[in-house]
Symmetry: C3
Subunit: 182 residues, 3 copies
Amino acid sequence: MTNTDKILVLGGCRSGKSSHALNLAEGMGGRRIFVATCVPRDDEMKDRVDRHRRERDATWDTLEVPVDLAGTITAHSPSTDVILVDCLTLWLSNLLMRTDDVDCIRRRIDDLAEAVRSAPRNVILVSNEVGAGIVPENRLARHYRDLAGWTNQAVAAACDRVVWTVAGIPVTIKPAFQATAP
Amino acid sequence: MTNTDKILVLGGCRSGKSSHALNLAEGMGGRRIFVATCVPRDDEMKDRVDRHRRERDATWDTLEVPVDLAGTITAHSPSTDVILVDCLTLWLSNLLMRTDDVDCIRRRIDDLAEAVRSAPRNVILVSNEVGAGIVPENRLARHYRDLAGWTNQAVAAACDRVVWTVAGIPVTIKPAFQATAP
Amino acid sequence: MTNTDKILVLGGCRSGKSSHALNLAEGMGGRRIFVATCVPRDDEMKDRVDRHRRERDATWDTLEVPVDLAGTITAHSPSTDVILVDCLTLWLSNLLMRTDDVDCIRRRIDDLAEAVRSAPRNVILVSNEVGAGIVPENRLARHYRDLAGWTNQAVAAACDRVVWTVAGIPVTIKPAFQATAP
């Protein structure tokens, strides 16, 4: 099955990436699964999850998948037309709470990218850009930032389309747009 | 009056957004008002304000408006051709010093967007992207980041044109550029 | 000698900028010099340097130049076809460890931009975007962020081409791409 879309929607906090990903998915029709990587641990997170859930209409099924994204994307029933994963940076946080073995994490990232590439359905993934601020003083935050960048690179390479969101505006950066002469 | 430009210039710190906004305004001719949201409270801020003021030529009037942007944009004399607001993230900080009522702040953001949309003159607004770094440990900073993102989205939706600045380079992201086939 | 390329590759942490800069340089053929501004001071930095070195093939000479980039770019033997500098934000950190005289630093930034502009060979420079996160609480970090922005602006103005990298995807932002009508 070659006629599937694999799309990464990437942007800063509150840049409109989740809304844009929902719009893309709802334009695709069919059976939709929303894969939430968020497992709420406090009221602030719970509020975000509830707000997102209210933004989706009844045509969505929701799964909470903190870690096994690759398995969810590949193993799911063929009658599912689109899987929307929101979001990869939280998935990475969940992984890091279970292991600090970098090789293991890198393998998980590669497995995820491969699952996206080979899935026989549309897959839309949301991720945060976290690397364009000042270098964090906290060593763990630097480590996380590196891994988030690797995740975004690996998944972007596996997708046909990458959309960078700024202030609610989706900017398609893959496939490349054409620069004009100066 | 439909033939007006509403432009948001958005970028990171020292990305050239204020200079670009000034250039845009000076290309529009006529009577210009610079609306500074900055009310300097220490020497560092005072230096920034003075530097910006020196960068403007004598054709500008300057108003210091810490909070009532919507009123300033709509109520101002029709003989004013362009209002340049610099910048929205500082305006948001000023608001947050007066209230922590999120509904009130959201209403202010909506009012601002509506004022931009309906103003019978050119309006150029400068804002900071603050959401593309690591998630801040500080809860208030996370709250601020969310509100700044909402402000940028609401104002971007009200503008005909949105310019993303990087390293002094203005990149027009609204209206959309055309992606080429892969 | 006018037929040279001057390219700035700019992006967040782990956005693929170094790899892209290497690819650009390896597409240019001839004698290549890699100018590393990194002088490793701890194991974390040493690991990064070693990883980058392993990513380059044997056609590269490597110089460690913590501060005198302008001299290295202009004075080097004319038989060198391309100089790749990685990266400018670390160069700025090295400068700031030697002086806190802002005028001196601004002069160094201008000298670097002039060296890039006038060098009789291809020059590719890598730099970090550090200004798109929340305003740092630390005053020195704010100062650094300003200077990094000025460096990126000055060098971008001296380059024919500027590439913004996101998730491993190079987005050419200079020369400008053409926006389409809405």
